[in-house]
C-alpha cells in the first residue's frame, strides 16, 4: 500500500491543501501550526474513520472558519491497483467513495468495507479507530513511546508473519499459558521470589509441624533418658550402699580385734603396776641399807677427823695469849711518850704567843707615834692657811675676769679720749699776763689743755673766750662716748673699791699669789691624809694599849722570857719561837700515832684470841655430839660386816623384781600401745565415715525411688514411641511437600525458560530486521532483544557492546535513543507487515526525532533511507526541514499563511501566534528551504533546551538534560549560559547541578 497523493478541504486549519507524495521518501516541512499534523491526521481519518458519523472525532475534523464540510481525497496503491478515495465528513450525511483504477466506484458502506479490506483492518470507532495502524503512524509526541504497545493491533498479523519467517517457530497455546500460569501461581504460593518458603503455605505449616513434633520427641526422649539416668543412679547407689555395708562389717571385725588387744594390754598394765611397786620397794630397801651403812661409816669418820682438828687450835691459843701481853706493854709506853710531847708543845705555844704579842706591841706603838706626828704637822699648815686667807680677804676681790673688764673699760676710755683728743683743740699757755682760766680752771704758763668741749676761757678778767672745738656735734658725741667710758671705768673701779686699773692689776696679782700658796698648803694637808686623822689617832692609841695588855697577860704564864727591846728583836724572837712550836707539835703528833697503833694491835689480838677460843669450844661441842651419834649408829646398824651383808641382800632382791618388771614391759611394748590407740581412733573415724556415707546413699536412694515411683497416669516410654512415630510421620509429610515444592518450582522454571526460548525463536526475524535498521544509527555492535510470552510483546531492550553487556530496557534509554530504537522497531514491523500490502507500507513520522542530536540524525537519515530502499514509503513531517536536508527526500512545503488570515487568529484552537510570525519573518531570508514561510527552527538550541526542560516539568539535572539533548558539553554549556543570561532559566541544587525554568519551583 502506498499513498500517492492527498487533497484536504475544509479540514480544520486547511481550506484546501494538496500534496503529492514521493513513492519512497517525502519530507513535509512547515512551521508550527502550518497544518502538517492536521494533514496526516486527515489522511488517517480518511483511511480508517467512516465518513458517516457524529463522534467527537468527526466533529474534530470540522473547520469553523470555512463553510464547507471537511473532505479528504486520497490516491493510493493497493493490491497492485491505484485507488481514489474521497470522504466527506458531514455528520450523518457523510459520504465515501472508493474508485479503483479502471473500475466501478464503490460508495459509502461498500466503499468503507472495501477500504477496510484493502487496509486489512476491522472497522472501528473511537480509540480503536485512532489506534489503527499506530505502528506505522507516529503522531507528534509519540515517537518516544515503546513501539510494542502500538504493535498490539497488528499482533496477530505480525505473529503470523513471524511464524512464516521462522522455520521452527512455534507458538504456545492458550492452554500452554494456562498450565504455565497455574504452575507459576502454585509455585509462588509456596515459595517467595528469594526461594524462601512462603508463610501460610502447606509447606510452611508442615515445617512448623515437623519442628514441633521433633521438639516433642526430644522432650519425650529427655524424659525417658532422665528416668533411665535416675534408675541407673539408683542402681549405682544401691551397689554403693551394699559395698558400704560390707565395708562396715569389716570395720566392725577390725574394731573387735582391737578391743581384744586392748583388753590384754590392760591386764599387762595392771601387772606392770604391781611389779613396779615391788621393784620400788626392793629398791627402797636397798637404798635404806646403803644409807645406814653410809651414815654409820660417816659418823665414825667424822669423830676421827674432828678429834684430829682440835690439837692445833690449842697451840694457837697459847701463841695468841703471849702476843697479847707484849702488845699491852707497848701501849703503856706509847701513852707515856704521848703525855711528854703534849706538855712540851703547850709550853712552846705559850712562848710563841708571847713573842707575837711583843711584836704587836711594838708595831702599835710605832703606828701611834706616826699618827701623832701627822696631827702636829696638820695643825701648823692650818694655821698658815688661816693667815693667808685673812690676807686674801683683805685684798680687793679682783679676779682675772674683772681685771680684764677693767682693762677693757680703760682701753675703751683711752680710745674714746684719743678720739676726743683728735678733735680737741690744743691749748697751751705759753705766756700769760693774766690768769688764764679755762673753764674756770686756771692755767699756768706752760700748761696745756686739750679742749674737747666748748669752754670759756678767761684771760684775766676781762677776756673771756669761748672755744668750741671740732665744731658741730661730733665732738660732743665723742665727748659723750669718752665720758661714758670714763663712767663705766669708774663704776667698775668703784665697785672694787680701787682707784685705778693698775691698782686692780696689783690686787689681782696679790690674790693670785695668795691662792697659789694656799693651794700648796692644801696639797700638803691632803698628803698627810687629814680626813679621819682624829679617829685614826684614837684607834692607834687604843691598839697600843690592847697590845700592851696582851703582852702583860701572856708574860705571866711564861717564865724565863727575855723581853725584846724593839720591834726587830721582837720579830726575831717570834720567829724562833714559832719554829720551836712547830717541832714540838710534830713530836706530839708522832707520839699520838704510835699510841693508837699499839692500842689497835692489842685490840686485834684480843678479838683473834676470842674467836679461836669460841671455835675451839664449838668443835669440842660438835665432837661430843658426833661421838654420841656414832655410838648410837653403831648400836643401831652394827659393825661394818653386818652392814655389808645387809646391803648385798637388798641388792639381790632389787635385781629380781627389776627383771620381772622388764619382762612385763616388754610384753606391753609388743602390743604396741601407741599404735593401738591410733588404730582405734582411725577405725572410729572410718566407722563414722562409713555411717555418713551410708546415710547419704540411703537418702539418695530414697529420693531416686520417689522419682521413679510412677503414678500410672502417663507412660513415658509409650509417649516416646508415639512422639517418635509422630515426628517421623511429620517428617514424611514434610519431605513429600518439599519434593512437590521442588517439582513445582522446577516446572515453573522450565515453563518460564521454554516460554522465553519460544518467544526468542518467534521474534528472531523481527529482531534481525530491527538490528538491520539500528545499525546505521548505533553501529554494528548494537542489538535489541524483545520478548514474546505468547500473549504480547514486551521487554524491548537495547544492548550496546560499547556500553557493556547488560541490555538497557527501553524505559531507561535517553529520549533520543528511545525515538531511534522505536523508529527501527516500527520500520522492522512495517517491513514484516508489508508482505500483506504489496510489500509496501507508508510510515508516517511526525516530528519523530525531536531529541536526536546532529550526529544521530544523520544515522536516522540512513535508517530511513534504508527503509525506503527496502520498499517502505517514508513520510517525514518536520517543522525544521533543514534537519533533513541530507535525507534526500522529496520536500513538500506547507505555509503558515495557508489558514485564513485574521480569522485564524480568532479561532479557538491555538492559532499561530503573532510573536511566532515575527520570529518566522526574521528567519525568512536565511532559509534555503523551498518554503514560502520557513519555520524559525523551533529546534534552535535554546528552544530545544527549553522544550525538553518543560517536558521534565520545568526542572531537570544538567547531566540528564544534556544526555537527552544529545549535546556535547560545549554546546550545552553555551546554550545554558545564554538562557541564564536572558533570565529564562535559573540554576538549582542537585548532583551535577540542575536548571529550572525561571519562575518555576
Amino acid at each position: 500500500m502506498r499513498i500517492i497523493s492527498a487533497t484536504v478541504r475544509n479540514y480544520r486549519v486547511h481550506r484546501e491543501l494538496g500534496v503529492t507524495f514521493d513513492r519512497a521518501l517525502t519530507l513535509i516541512g512547515g512551521p508550527n501550526e502550518s497544518g502538517k499534523s492536521t494533514l496526516v491526521e486527515a489522511i488517517h481519518r480518511a483511511l480508517f474513520m467512516k465518513a458517516r458519523g457524529t463522534s467527537e472525532e468527526h466533529k474534530a475534523t470540522r473547520s469553523d472558519p470555512f463553510t464547507g464540510h471537511p473532505e479528504v481525497e486520497l490516491t493510493f496503491e493497493a493490491r497492485g491497483v491505484m485507488w481514489r478515495l474521497l470522504k466527506r465528513f458531514s455528520g450523518t450525511t457523510g459520504t465515501a467513495s472508493l474508485s479503483p483504477e479502471n473500475g466501478a466506484t464503490l460508495r459509502d458502506a461498500e466503499a468503507e468495507a472495501k477500504l477496510a479490506e484493502l487496509l486489512g483492518v476491522e472497522a472501528a470507532t473511537g480509540n480503536a479507530m485512532l489506534a489503527q495502524w499506530a505502528h506505522v503512524w507516529v503522531e507528534q509526541g509519540n515517537s518516544g513511546r515503546d513501539p510494542s504497545e502500538s504493535a498490539r493491533t497488528q499482533q496477530g498479523r505480525l505473529i503470523n508473519r513471524l511464524q512464516e519467517l521462522g522455520a521452527a517457530a512455534v507458538l504456545q497455546s492458550p492452554f500452554d499459558m494456562q498450565v504455565a500460569g497455574e504452575f507459576s501461581k502454585i509455585s509462588k504460593a509456596i515459595f517467595t521470589s528469594t526461594g524462601a518458603v512462603r508463610a501460610g503455605s502447606d509447606l510452611s505449616r508442615a515445617i512448623a509441624e515437623s519442628e514441633e513434633a521433633e521438639q516433642k520427641r526430644y522432650a519425650a526422649e529427655k524424659r525417658v533418658s532422665s528416668l533411665d539416668a535416675t534408675a541407673a543412679t539408683l542402681r549405682g547407689d544401691l551397689e554403693d550402699l551394699a559395698a558400704v555395708r560390707e565395708s562396715r562389717a569389716r570395720l566392725k571385725a577390725q574394731s573387735e580385734e582391737l578391743t581384744g588387744r586392748e583388753r590384754s594390754l590392760n591386764e599387762l598394765r595392771l601387772q606392770e603396776y604391781q611389779h613396779a611397786s615391788d621393784a620400788e620397794k626392793a629398791m627402797l630397801s636397798l637404798a635404806q641399807a646403803r644409807e645406814a651403812d653410809q651414815s654409820t661409816t660417816s659418823a665414825v669418820e667424822y669423830v676421827l677427823v674432828t678429834e684430829d682438828s682440835l690439837a692445833p687450835k690449842a697451840d694457837e691459843v697459847v701463841r695468841l695469849t703471849n702476843a697479847r701481853a707484849s702488845a699491852a706493854f707497848a701501849v703503856g709506853a706509847a701513852e707515856t711518850a704521848d703525855g711528854t710531847a703534849a706538855v712540851a708543845a703547850r709550853d712552846a705555844r705559850r712562848r710563841s704567843d708571847l713573842a707575837v704579842a711583843y711584836v704587836e706591841r711594838f708595831e702599835k706603838a710605832d703606828t701611834l707615834s706616826k699618827v701623832q706626828a701627822r696631827a702636829v704637822e696638820a695643825g701648823a699648815i692650818r694655821a698658815a692657811m688661816a693667815s693667808l686667807e685673812t690676807q686674801l680677804a683683805e685684798t680687793p676681790k679682783v679676779d682675772k675676769k674683772k681685771l680684764k673688764a677693767l682693762q677693757k673699760a680703760r682701753e675703751e676710755l683711752l680710745t674714746a679720749r684719743a678720739t676726743l683728743d683728735a678733735m680737741a683743740t690744743s691749748l697751751e699757755v705759753r705766756a700769760a699776763d693774766a690768769a688764764v682760766c679755762v673753764g674756770g680752771e686756771s692755767l699756768a704758763v706752760g700748761d696745756a689743755r686739750i679742749l674737747t668741749d666748748g669752754v670759756e676761757i678767761t684771760v684775766g678778767s676781762g677776756v673771756r673766750l669761748f672755744v668750741q672745738p671740732g665744731g658741730g656735734t661730733s665732738l660732743a658725741e665723742a665727748k659723750l662716748a669718752a665720758d661714758e667710758a670714763q663712767a663705766s671705768l669708774d663704776e667698775l673701779l668703784g665697785e672694787l673699791g680701787l682707784a685705778s686699773v693698775d691698782a686692780a692689776a696689783q690686787a689681782q696679782q696679790t690674790r693670785s699669789d695668795l691662792d697659789t700658796v694656799l693651794a700648796q698648803h692644801q696639797a700638803r694637808l691632803d698628803a698627810i691624809e687629814v680626813d679621819g686623822l682624829d679617829e685614826e689617832l684614837q684607834q692607834a692609841l687604843q691598839d697600843s694599849q690592847v697590845a700592851d695588855a696582851e703582852v702583860a697577860s701572856r708574860s705571866a704564864a711564861v717564865g724565863g722570857f727575855d723581853a725584846p727591846s724593839d720591834l726587830a728583836g721582837a720579830r726575831a724572837q717570834a720567829r724562833d719561837a714559832k719554829q720551836v712550836l712547830k717541832d714540838a707539835e710534830t713530836s706530839e703528833s708522832d707520839a699520838k700515832e704510835d699510841r693508837t697503833a699499839a692500842i689497835e694491835k692489842l685490840s686485834e689480838l684480843d678479838s683473834t684470841l676470842a674467836a679461836v677460843r669460841a671455835e675451839m669450844a664449838e668443835r669440842e661441842e660438835d665432837l661430843r655430839t658426833a661421838r654420841a651419834q656414832r655410838d648410837h649408829l653403831l648400836g643401831l646398824h652394827g659393825d661394818g660386816a653386818a652392814r655389808t651383808a645387809r646391803v648385798e641382800l637388798a641388792e639381790r632382791a632389787c635385781e629380781a623384781t627389776g627383771a620381772q618388771l622388764e619382762a612385763i614391759r616388754s610384753s606391753i611394748s609388743l602390743l604396741d600401745p601407741e599404735g593401738l590407740e591410733a588404730d582405734t581412733k582411725r577405725l572410729e573415724r572410718a566407722i563414722e565415715g562409713n555411717s555418713e556415707q551410708a546415710r547419704s546413699l540411703e537418702r539418695s536412694v530414697d529420693f531416686a525411688r520417689a522419682d521413679l515411683r510412677v503414678d500410672g497416669s502417663v507412660d513415658p516410654r509409650a509417649d516416646l514411641a508415639n512422639a517418635v512415630a509422630r515426628a517421623q510421620a511429620a517428617g514424611e509429610v514434610l519431605e513429600r511437600l518439599r519434593r512437590r515444592g521442588k517439582a513445582l518450582t522446577l516446572l515453573d522454571d522450565l515453563f518460564t525458560e521454554e516460554q522465553r526460548s519460544l518467544g526468542q525463536r518467534l521474534t528472531k526475524p523481527l529482531v534481525d530486521k530491527i538490528n538491520v535498521y539500528l545499525r546505521p544509527v548505533f553501529g554494528t555492535s548494537a542489538s535489541v532483544a524483545i520478548e514474546y510470552n505468547g500473549a504480547e510483546f514486551s521487554g524491548l531492550s537495547l544492548r550496546r557492546v560499547a556500553l557493556g553487556h547488560s541490555p538497557f530496557p527501553f524505559d531507561v534509554l535517553s529520549g533520543g535513543a528511545k525515538e531511534q530504537l522505536a523508529c527501527a522497531v516500527r520500520l522492522a514491523t512495517a517491513e514484516l507487515l508489508a508482505a500483506d500490502h504489496d510489500d509496501c507500507l507508508p510510515l508516517v513520522l511526525d516530528d519523530a526525532f525531536a531529541y536526536s542530536d546532529g550526529r544521530r540524525v544523520s544515522g536516522v537519515h540512513r535508517m530511513l533511507d534504508l527503509a525506503a530502499s527496502r520498499g517502505l514509503q517514508v513520510i517525514v513531517l518536520s517543522c525544521n526541514p533543514a534537519d533533513y536536508e541530507a535525507l534526500g527526500a522529496t520536500p513538500v512545503r506547507l505555509t503558515a499563511a495557508e489558514p485564513v488570515q485574521g480569522q485564524a487568529l480568532a479561532a479557538p484552537e491555538e492559532p499561530l501566534r503573532v510573536e511566532d510570525a515575527a520570529v518566522f519573518a526574521s528567519h525568512d531570508e536565511d532559509k534555503a528551504e523551498p518554503t514560502s514561510a520557513s519555520p524559525p527552527g523551533v529546534r534552535e538550541p535554546q528552544e530545544r533546551f527549553l522544550l525538553l526542560l518543560n517536558a521534565h516539568g520545568g526542572r531537570c539535572g544538567n547531566i540528564v538534560l544534556r544526555r537527552e539533548l544529545g549535546w556535547g558539553e560545549e554546546l550545552y554549556d553555551g546554550v545554558k549560559g545564554e538562557l541564564l543570561a536572558s533570565g529564562k532559566i535559573v540554576l538549582g541544587q542537585g548532583r551535577g547541578g540542575t536548571v529550572s525554568i525561571a519562575g518555576k519551583k
Binding site: L227, D715, R739, R740
Partner: protein, 390 residues
Amino acid sequence: MTVTFIHTADWQCGKPFAGISDEQKRVPLQKARIRTIQRMGKIAADHDAAFILVAGDLFDSTSPLQGTVSEACSAIGKLGVPVYVIPGNHDHGGEEALWTQEFFLREQRDLAPNLRVLLNAQPVIESGAVLLPCPLLRKHEAADTTGWLRSVPALGEAPSDAPRIVIAHGSIQDFGIRQDDDESDGGSPNSIDLALLPRGAYDYIALGDWHGAKKVSDIAWYSGTPEQDRFAKGDDYAAGSVLVVRATRGQPPQVTRHSTGEMGWHEIDHVFGADADLAALEARIRGCVGDRAGSDLLKLSLSGYLGLEAASALERTIESQTARLIRLKLVNETVIMPADEELDKLTHRQSDPLIARVATRLVEMARAQTDEAHTARVALRELYAASRNR
C-alpha cells in the same frame, strides 16, 4: 512326674502402637492384647495346665498406665491357674519398675492373687515343678541371666522327680533378634548362652523376647507373643500363639502350639513390571484382607515401575486400604514414570508446544541418574495431572 503348663511371653500389654498414625485405630490392637489373655484361660483349662509361665515382657513398659495394669491384672485373675511371671527387658525388675510399686501390688492383690512375679534368681517349687527364674533386673543386662544355673543350684526340699523349668528372657547366642524398622526398641542385647547350662540338668527352658514361636533346642523354646504385634520377620515367623508344655524330669518336653491371636498381620511384597500388575496387587490384597475393615494390618512393599495413570489408580487403592486397614505400612519404592504412551501424550502434544517442550526436558531429567530425577518424575506427574484436564 509330668507337669503340664502353658509357656507364653511378650504380652506387652500397653504397647502404644505409635506407628499407627490414626490414634483411634491403636485401641483395637491394645484391647486385643488383653483379650488374648482371656483366651489362654480356656487353653489352660482344656489341657489341664497346672500354671502359666510368662517369660518376660508382660507389660510393654516399666511404667504402664494404671488402666493397662488393671486390665491385665483383671484378665490374669480370671485365668484360673497360677501365673508365674519374670520381668523382661520391657518391664524389667529394676528399681524403677512397676513390680514393686504400690498400685501394681494393690491391683495384683485385688484382681490377680494368682499372679506371682519372680524377681529373684532362686528356685521356686510350685505345683510339682521346680521353677528356675532368670529375671531381668534392668533393660540391658550385661551378664547372662542364666549364669546362676551353670552349676545346678541347691534345690532344697524339691522332689527329685520334679521337672526343672528354666524361665528366661533374651536372645540366645546363635539367634539374634533383628527388630523391624519402626518396631525397634534398640533390640534386646540380653544374651543367653544355653550351651553353658549343664546337659540333663534342666527339663525345659521357657524363653521370651522373640515374638514368634520357635524351638531353639530340644528343651528350649521361644513361645512368641500370643497376639502378634509387629509384621512377620521371615517365613517361619509364628506369632499369635502359646505353647502347651508337658515336662517330665529327665525326659524331653512335649510341646504343642495353640493359636491365640485374633488380629490379621499381613505382608505383601509386590513388584510392578507393567501397569497391568496393579490388578494382581489388588487381588493379593483382597486375598489377605478380604472385605474386612478395622481388623487387619498390612505391610505393603512395592517396587518396580508404574505409569502415571496406573500410579493414580494405585493411589486410590492405597487410599482405600489405608481406611480399611488398622494399619497400612507402605514401603513404596515404585518408580512412577509415565508410560511411553503417556509420555507421548505430553511430549508430542502438538497443540500445546510449551507443555510438550517442558515435558521433554523433564523426561530427560527423569531418566538421568541424578538427584533431580526424582524431582523430575514428581514434576512429570504434576504436569501430567495438569495436562489431563484437557
